[in-house]
């Protein structure tokens, strides 16, 4: 399965419901998807291409465009190793009401990654069983109420 085939198939199957799949370079495909269609797309790529292995979940903050982007990096792992292809799902999330469905029902391995993204960005993952403090200290809420460190409006001392 090469990248061009995957891009064509995704475009045929989902059409307007996802952004145009983009080939960044060899082995890297980026698909932007709204959160309404996220679960459908995730199920589809897992079942069709057997992308059974979530590498990472990241958040990105774009305050000028008033959005966060949650990024999932997925690849295929078989007995014989990784497939070099990495599919990137980008989910834009409104900055005022940061909520998006959790993909834990599809990939168990996103559990800790989503918990970290929730903690550092304040993005709510609907359906995640355990959104609790992970890396920050216990008194964070008293020291910095309603602040999330990786957002761009959280400034460090010398900025």
């Amino acid at each position: 399965m090469n990248e061009a085939q995957i891009i064509d198939e995704l475009r045929d199957k989902f059409g307007e419901r996802i952004g145009t799949p983009e080939r960044l370079r060899q082995h890297r495909i980026v698909v932007t998807v709204e959160k309404e269609n996220l679960l459908d797309l995730a199920k589809f790529v897992k079942d069709t291409y057997d992308l059974n292995y979530a590498i990472s979940v990241s958040g990105i903050d774009y305050p000028e465009q008033n959005k966060f982007v949650v990024v999932y990096h997925l690849c295929k792992m078989s007995e014989e190793g990784h497939l070099p292809l990495v599919l990137t799902l980008k989910v834009p999330v409104n900055r005022q009401t940061p909520r998006t469905p959790s993909l834990i029902s599809i990939w168990q391995s996103v559990e800790w990654h989503e918990r970290e993204t929730w903690e550092l960005f304040g993005i709510e993952f609907e359906g995640h069983p355990k959104l609790e403090r992970l890396l920050l200290h216990e008194d964070w809420d008293e020291e910095f109420p309603n602040q999330f460190p990786l957002r761009k409006d959280f400034l460090l001392e010398d900025e």
């Binding site: 370079r25 082995h27 059974n52 590498i55 990241s58 990105i60 990784h82 391995s109 559990e111 900025e159």
Partner: protein
């Protein structure tokens, strides 16, 4: 029988900067939940305020026992955005450094595993050989014992010094002999075998489902190694095998690392034999063009991915390190159902490095 709750760490001989919340019933572990965050130093946030080159020493601090692979992932990301080709000599030197730091990390792990299962000799041997053989070689090449910031975007900082090939070969010859002794005294030791065989079994499908990586994955029968699957640096020109054991217990995870040390030394030999002449770095620009990149390397503990987003300035817009220890966190569920005395071998067989998780 009522259950009992207690926490292991952060002040505990067997935990490091890390805590495990353990629920016990009798001698059986009902639940083991990791509590990271004791070394969360916000590397990702600080990286957004510093220039690309300044970030090299910063991100290397997140895994001080295996520095080369961390910096390599970051450097590869920047090189891809800049669109520069790294000279072949630099690629080979990078391979040498990555494998040296893999051996360094595995020896550190082996030493701590030794003391965890009550084998003090292995502890002393592991640390002693690490200092005398490997750290000294790294110091000769890069000028520092552990934190050398040697791999930078565009190549490596300096060329190899004179006579380093002979020194390294001599070191590796001696190290080969030591590995045999490790096998005789530790890995073939019936006590060690009985403490680790059949302990903390992770099946193949469960390993993939939980998303664990590195030797933990290869100990469960999955041949997953980025060096082979998506080759970087000069790994596609070198000949090496990936050790895989299918039992999925603590012993097979330990054997994977043990055999990797041997394979790493053979990779270093090959890299020295085939070392091309030429430049060891190319000039880079301070401003990195706009774009995003996802670079993956195989660090000592598993796949390390660096997700870098640039907005065209001198500083990264967002840097996310997806580290192997973080991805091995679900592996702590292996402790469920085993005895408390089996906790140290299981914990050590995951080779968990808290700094890498917390960043």
């Amino acid at each position: 029988m009522s259950s009992m709750y207690f926490s292991v760490g952060p002040q505990h001989p067997g935990s490091g900067h890390f805590r495990m919340k353990i629920t016990l019933q009798g001698d059986i572990i009902l639940n083991a939940e990791p509590d990271p965050g004791f070394v969360h130093r916000s590397v990702e946030k600080i990286a957004e305020t510093r220039e690309y080159l300044q970030n090299v020493p910063l991100i290397e601090r997140q895994c001080l026992s295996d520095v080369s692979s961390v910096t390599l992932a970051y450097a590869m990301g920047i090189e891809e955005l800049l669109g520069i080709e790294v000279p072949p000599r630099a690629q080979y030197i990078r391979v040498i450094m990555c494998e040296l730091s893999r051996i360094m990390s595995h020896l550190y792990w082996l030493a701590i595993l030794g003391i965890f299962v009550g084998h003090s000799t292995m502890f002393m041997w592991g640390f002693g050989d690490r200092d005398i053989l490997i750290t000294e070689t790294a110091e000769k090449i890069a000028g520092a014992r552990v934190s050398y910031s040697y791999i930078i975007p565009g190549g490596v900082r300096y060329d190899l010094p004179d006579g380093i090939k002979e020194h390294t070969m001599k070191t590796l010859d001696y190290f080969q002999g030591r590995l045999k002794e490790y096998d005789a005294i530790f890995f073939s030791n019936p006590i060690f075998k009985r403490r680790t065989k059949g302990v903390g079994v992770l099946s193949r499908s469960e390993a993939i489902r939980l998303g664990v990586t590195g030797p933990t994955l290869r100990g469960s029968g999955v041949r997953g190694d980025i060096r082979k699957d998506a080759p970087y640096a000069a790994y596609d020109e070198l000949d090496f095998e990936i050790p895989v054991y299918s039992e999925g217990d603590s012993y097979s995870r330990s054997l994977v690392r043990f055999r990797e040390m041997k394979i790493s030394s053979s990779i270093i030999r090959q890299a020295f034999e085939n070392l091309p002449e030429g430049d060891f770095k190319v000039k880079t620009r301070k401003k990195v063009p706009e774009g995003e990149v996802f670079s993956r390397v195989e660090a000592a503990r598993g796949e390390l991915a660096c997700y870098l987003i640039s907005d065209g300035t001198r500083k990264p817009y967002r840097l996310k390190m997806s580290t192997p220890s973080f991805r091995n966190l679900p592996g702590f569920s292996l402790m469920k159902g085993s005895m408390l005395a089996d906790m140290p071998p299981i914990y050590m067989s995951l080779d968990y490095w808290p700094l890498e998780t917390d960043r």
